[in-house]
């Protein structure tokens, strides 16, 4: 299988960058679908970074003379009920989507991995307590837990990130724990313990680098879900709030109200959501196949 020659290096070597590039090229050659996903993601990241340069209009600039205009050469994707350019708001919306997606997936996967490894390392009562805690968080549908967290914290980008992180955390903890359980019995962990290293050092330096494969798989699997969840929360009016540009928010209210007169308001933001989640899923799927084909997420 391809996973044998595909690995991530955590040790610093002079040629680290070159090895990274080589590994990426090999990945692209072997998995064209994953590479296509990565390409779309790259374009999205560039769009988000360069939004100020690319976007033709001001994302917050209302223009009541140009309300609900159909797509034309001046407004490619038309305008919304405030006369704001839909294309511009989609471009700026990618910032919100990517920021929330990346930060919440990173936080969720990382804290989940830490809990999973710690749970496996300590075993016994600590393991049992942590597992019960995770079971508790797993006994709700994702969105219900996120909604409760939003109720506690209120809406707004930072709180949304946290609301998405919480339901992701136990899912990663579970997967990482099961790979870490096998690690615990490995000779090198035994050796580290015999050398008198403390649990913090063993967990962070010796065990965590070795669960990189499930960690990365969970991280990429979360990305698409996080973007979807953010869009859903914003659509419900409990996520990002106006006038900030967010894709889910663009589908809310006026988009449905004026759907018949101005269908472009409802169509383009949805395409943006679907395309980005599609890209992250394609990439995540290929990465999973490359790293650990047996794992079903």
């Amino acid at each position: 299988m391809a996973n044998a020659n595909f690995q991530f290096n955590t040790t610093s070597t002079p040629s680290r960058l070159r090895r990274w590039i080589e590994a990426s090229l090999r990945f692209a050659g072997q998995r064209p679908l994953g590479a296509a996903g990565a390409l779309i993601i790259l374009i999205m990241i560039l769009t988000a970074l360069l939004a100020g340069l690319i976007a033709p209009y001001d994302p917050l600039g209302t223009d009541y003379a140009a309300m609900l205009q159909a797509p034309s050469s001046t407004h490619w994707f038309g305008t919304d009920s405030f006369g704001r350019d839909v294309l511009t708001r989609i471009i700026y919306g990618s910032r919100t989507a990517l920021w929330v997606g990346f930060v919440s997936s990173f936080l969720g996967a990382t804290s989940g991995a830490l809990i999973g490894v710690a749970s496996a390392y300590f075993g016994g009562r600590v393991d049992l307590m942590l597992q019960r805690g995770m079971d508790l968080l797993l006994s709700f549908p994702l969105i219900i837990l996120a909604l409760v967290v939003v109720a506690v914290l209120g809406s707004g980008v930072t709180n949304i990130i946290f609301a998405i992180t919480v339901p992701m955390l136990p899912r990663c903890a579970l997967v990482v724990r099961s790979s870490a359980l096998a690690l615990r019995e490995m000779p090198f962990v035994e050796a580290a313990r015999a050398l008198g290293f403390g649990p913090t050092r063993i967990i962070l330096r010796h065990m965590l680098p070795n669960v990189m494969a499930p960690y990365l798989i969970m991280l990429t699997a979360f990305l698409g879900q996080a973007i979807l969840l953010e869009a859903s929360l914003s659509f419900l009016g409990l996520g990002v709030s106006e006038p900030q540009a967010a894709w889910g928010l663009m589908l809310r209210g006026a988009a449905v109200e004026f759907a018949e007169r101005a269908p472009w308001m409802a169509i383009y933001p949805g395409i943006a959501i679907s395309l980005s989640v599609f890209a992250f899923n394609l990439f995540g799927d290929s990465l999973r196949d490359a790293l650990d084909p047996k794992l079903r997420v």
Binding site: P141, V148, A151, L236, N281
Partner: protein, 317 residues
């Protein structure tokens, strides 16, 4: 077997208790309470005494432990209390919505089954042909397209092409099946397509695994018809992980359709949940969360049982 079932059911109690504590505390940490929300809605100025009086009526002036114990004691006696917002029994409010939510979840699951199993089998049989690629892209796309957006598109399509909208008021299936189905089939399709995605992929990979087994070759060598080989020998062995996935999704659908209900204007459990959480209707939210996680845990248990019954290699422990 009986002991196993009993033990699993008993183990649900501590989990549900944990859920109850968690939700209870989280709601109290949340800023604002129902009395403030009520008066904020009217826009009128209310002196503190009036607010306090109202709080006392709802029992919100009591210490937290007291509130928690009286709520728990009510649940033990199967008295779930009244909605703090409408004053009617929570059970009554939930029951009306549960019918809709359960039916929608059931219909979406049926859609998902009828999409995923044939498509998954097709993809596995025609592995690496255009049919396989089509099915795979179709299912990855299903995971990517938000079902609420798909819902908006369906409504939009009807509006623009037929100038027709699905009915907005819910009629019970038992009263008028036709009106009921014309309303619910569209959200069921939007949601079912999304949830067929995981099951399709699972069917495909499970079938691929099974089709390589020796007993399939044996069955073919015996001269059995291809249909018999596929259904009796292959599908029967590949279907277990699919049942698991579909079961778990059903558990999710009962409480998790918050956004889709909003799009189709369906007054189900999800909408009730969003409403009562913004109104800080503690009793309602607490009961709903308990119900949703009970369904979640219970369906998990049933799926495990089905697995154990259908696959004798799995032992009950």
């Amino acid at each position: 077997m009986r002991q196993y079932i009993f033990k699993r059911l008993l183990l649900m109690i501590p989990t549900l208790f944990g859920v109850a504590v968690l939700v209870f505390l989280m709601l109290r940490v949340a800023p604002g309470d129902i009395v403030e929300m009520k008066y904020a809605g009217t826009g009128a100025f209310a002196p503190k005494e009036v607010l306090d009086l109202e709080r006392a009526q709802l029992g919100l002036d009591k210490p937290l432990w007291h509130q928690f114990i009286s709520w728990m004691w009510g649940i033990v006696r199967l008295e779930f209390g009244n909605s703090m917002w409408t004053g009617r029994p929570v059970i009554h409010e939930i029951a009306i919505r549960l019918e809709l939510s359960l039916q929608l979840a059931l219909m979406a699951t049926i859609v998902a089954i009828f999409l995923s199993i044939p498509l998954g089998i097709l993809a596995a049989l025609k592995q690496d042909t255009w049919a396989d690629y089509f099915v795979r892209v179709f299912s990855i796309a299903g995971l990517a397209v938000p079902s609420f957006w798909l819902g908006i598109l369906i409504i939009l399509g009807f509006l623009i092409i037929f100038q027709w909208l699905p009915p907005l008021t819910f009629t019970s299936f038992w009263e008028d099946p036709q009106a009921n189905l014309t309303q619910l089939i569209w959200p069921a399709l939007a949601v079912g397509y999304r949830y067929s995605a995981v099951a399709t992929r699972m069917t495909r990979s499970a079938m691929l695994e099974v089709l390589r087994e020796d007993y399939i070759r044996t069955a073919r060598a015996k001269g059995l018809r291809e249909k018999t080989v596929l259904v009796r020998h292959a599908l029967k062995n590949a279907v277990m992980p699919v049942i698991t996935v579909i079961g778990l999704e059903f558990a999710f659908l009962v409480g998790g359709l918050v956004v889709t209900e909003q799009v189709f204007n369906l007054n189900g459990i999800g909408m009730l949940f969003v409403e009562s959480i913004t109104q800080r209707d503690y009793i309602m939210v607490q009961t709903l969360v308990l119900l949703i996680s009970f369904v979640f845990i219970f369906v998990n248990f049933v799926v495990d049982l089905i697995n154990a019954v259908m696959d004798p290699r799995i032992r009950y422990q």
